[in-house]
C-alpha cells in the first residue's frame, strides 16, 4: 500500500513539475503561430515557410527542470575565397502546438549565411546593429533529415534590429541579438515574416 502511495506521489510530483515549464513564446496576435519580435534574449525564432508557421524546438528538460528553447549557433566559416561566411543556424519544426513541452523533432535546421571579411571580429558583429542586408548578398539554407539529408538553398534578406552585449565584468559575456529575415528558395519555397531573438555565450564564438 505504501509503495503504491509512494508511486502516486512521485507521478503527481513529476506531472506537477512538468506542467510548470513554460517556454518563452509570446504569440503575435497579427501573425498566428509566430512570436512577437523581441530583444530580451528569449532564444526564440519563428517564420512562415510557405505560410506554415515554424519555430525552434523546446527542450522540456528533466522532470520539468531546466527546460529551454533550443539555442542557435553563430560561427564564422572559413572559405577559399576572399570572404568568409558568417553562419547563424538553429533547429526548427512546425509550430503546431504553441503551448509548450514539444519534444525534439526530426533534425531540421535553418541557416542564414552572410559574406564577411576574413578579419571579422566580435566588434564587427556589434557594428551590424541596425543594419539591413538585401538578398543579393545573403543566402538561406534549409537542411532536414527524413531517412536522408536534404539541403535546399536560396537568397535571404536579414535585418539585425538589435545587438546587445554584457560587458559589466570587463569582458564580453552574454551576447543577445534579434532581427528579421525572409527568403526565397527557387520559386517553390517562400520564407516570410521571420524574426529571431537569441542570446548566446560570447565565449563560444569562433571569431
Amino acid at each position: 500500500m505504501k509503495t503504491i502511495l509512494f508511486k502516486i506521489i512521485v507521478c503527481a510530483l513529476a506531472l506537477y513539475l512538468s506542467s510548470c515549464v513554460k517556454r518563452n513564446f509570446f504569440p503575435d496576435p497579427d501573425d498566428p503561430g509566430l512570436s512577437l519580435l523581441t530583444s530580451h534574449g528569449f532564444n526564440i525564432a519563428t517564420a512562415y515557410i510557405n505560410n506554415v508557421p515554424y519555430i525552434n524546438p523546446f527542450d522540456p528538460g528533466t522532470l520539468g527542470i531546466g527546460g529551454a528553447n533550443s539555442a542557435p549557433s553563430l560561427e564564422l566559416i572559413g572559405t577559399g575565397n576572399s570572404f568568409d561566411t558568417l553562419c547563424l543556424s538553429w533547429q526548427f519544426e512546425i509550430n503546431d502546438n504553441t503551448s509548450n513541452n514539444q519534444p525534439y523533432p526530426t533534425i531540421s535546421t535553418i541557416s542564414l549565411l552572410m559574406p564577411v571579411p576574413k578579419s571579422f571580429t566580435k566588434t564587427d558583429f556589434f557594428a551590424l546593429n541596425g543594419q539591413r542586408f538585401s538578398s543579393n548578398t545573403n543566402a538561406v539554407v534549409l537542411r532536414s533529415y527524413h531517412n536522408y539529408f536534404d539541403t535546399l538553398s536560396g537568397t535571404s534578406n536579414i535585418y539585425f534590429v538589435s545587438i546587445k552585449y554584457d560587458n559589466t565584468s570587463g569582458s564580453i559575456t552574454n551576447l543577445s541579438f534579434s532581427g528579421l529575415f525572409d527568403g526565397n528558395i527557387g520559386d517553390s519555397i517562400l520564407i516570410t515574416k521571420g524574426r529571431f531573438d537569441f542570446e548566446i555565450d560570447a565565449a563560444t564564438l569562433n571569431f
Binding site: 513554460k22 530583444s39 534590429v161 529575415f181
Partner: protein
C-alpha cells in the same frame, strides 16, 4: 511604540459611524497613478459605496469603483525588411487601462466639528480588482513592419487593499462628501512577458453625494 499601537487598537475597536442610517454614496473626480514611473495613467473614477446596515455601531460597507481611463501616449519602434520602405518607423502608442474594483471595509469615525461636518477613515482590507489594458499603435502597417518589444493587451485581476479619508459636509445632513482614496495594485503578477507598464495603483480625489435611507429612530 507599543503604547501607540495599543491606543490605536482601542481607538479602532471603540470607533463607529455616527450616521445611524443606511446610505448610498456616489462620487466622481480625478485619479492619478502611483505605481508607474514611465507612464502617467489618469482616470475619471466613479465610486459607489453602499452601507447596508442602519445600526449605529455597524460601520461595514461595500464599495464599487470603475476608473475610466484617459489615453496615455508612448512610442514604439517598428522595422521592415522591405528595401523600398524606410527601415525604421516610430509609432505612436496609446495605452488605456480600464479598472474595476469591488471592496469591502469598515469606516472609522475620526472627528465631528461644531457644524456637524465629520471626518472618517475608510479601511478596505480586501477587494478584487481587474485591470484591462488596451494597447494600440497608430498607423501601424502590420503587413510590412514588425514592432520591437511591443506592448500587448492585458486583462488581469487580483486582490487589492485600499484606504480612504472622507470628509462629509453640507449643513446638518452631511449629504456631500470629499474623498481621497488610494488603492494598491493587484497582487497578481503581470505575466512573463515584459511590458512597459505595471498595474495601476489609483490615487483618487472625488466629490459626491450621500443618499441616506432607512433612518433608525
Amino acid at each position: 511604540m507599543k503604547p501607540f499601537l495599543l491606543a490605536f487598537s482601542i481607538f479602532i475597536l471603540f470607533s463607529f459611524a455616527t450616521n445611524a442610517q443606511s446610505s448610498l454614496s456616489l462620487s466622481t473626480g480625478i485619479s492619478s497613478d502611483l505605481n508607474n514611473a514611465h507612464h502617467s495613467f489618469y482616470h475619471i473614477p466613479f465610486s459607489l459605496q453602499w452601507k447596508p446596515s442602519s445600526r449605529e455601531r455597524s460601520a461595514f460597507f461595500v464599495e464599487f469603483d470603475y476608473d475610466f481611463p484617459f489615453s496615455t501616449k508612448s512610442t514604439g519602434q517598428s522595422y521592415t525588411l522591405n528595401p523600398s520602405l524606410p527601415k525604421e518607423v516610430t509609432l505612436q502608442e496609446t495605452i488605456r487601462p480600464y479598472i474595476f474594483s469591488v471592496s469591502i471595509g469598515f469606516r472609522i469615525h475620526l472627528y465631528t466639528n461644531k457644524r456637524n461636518n465629520s471626518f472618517y477613515l475608510n479601511l478596505l482590507p480586501f477587494g478584487i480588482s481587474t485591470q484591462n489594458f488596451k494597447v494600440n499603435y497608430k498607423n501601424f502597417d502590420k503587413e510590412n513592419y514588425e514592432i520591437l518589444n511591443p506592448d500587448i493587451n492585458m486583462n488581469r485581476g487580483g486582490i487589492v487593499t485600499s484606504i480612504a479619508a472622507i470628509y462629509n459636509f453640507h449643513k446638518t445632513k452631511q449629504d456631500m462628501k470629499l474623498m481621497l482614496h488610494v488603492q494598491s495594485p493587484p497582487l497578481e503578477g503581470t505575466g512573463n512577458y515584459p511590458l512597459s507598464f505595471r498595474f495601476v495603483a489609483p490615487l483618487q480625489l472625488t466629490f459626491g453625494y450621500n443618499f441616506y435611507y432607512n433612518k433608525r429612530k
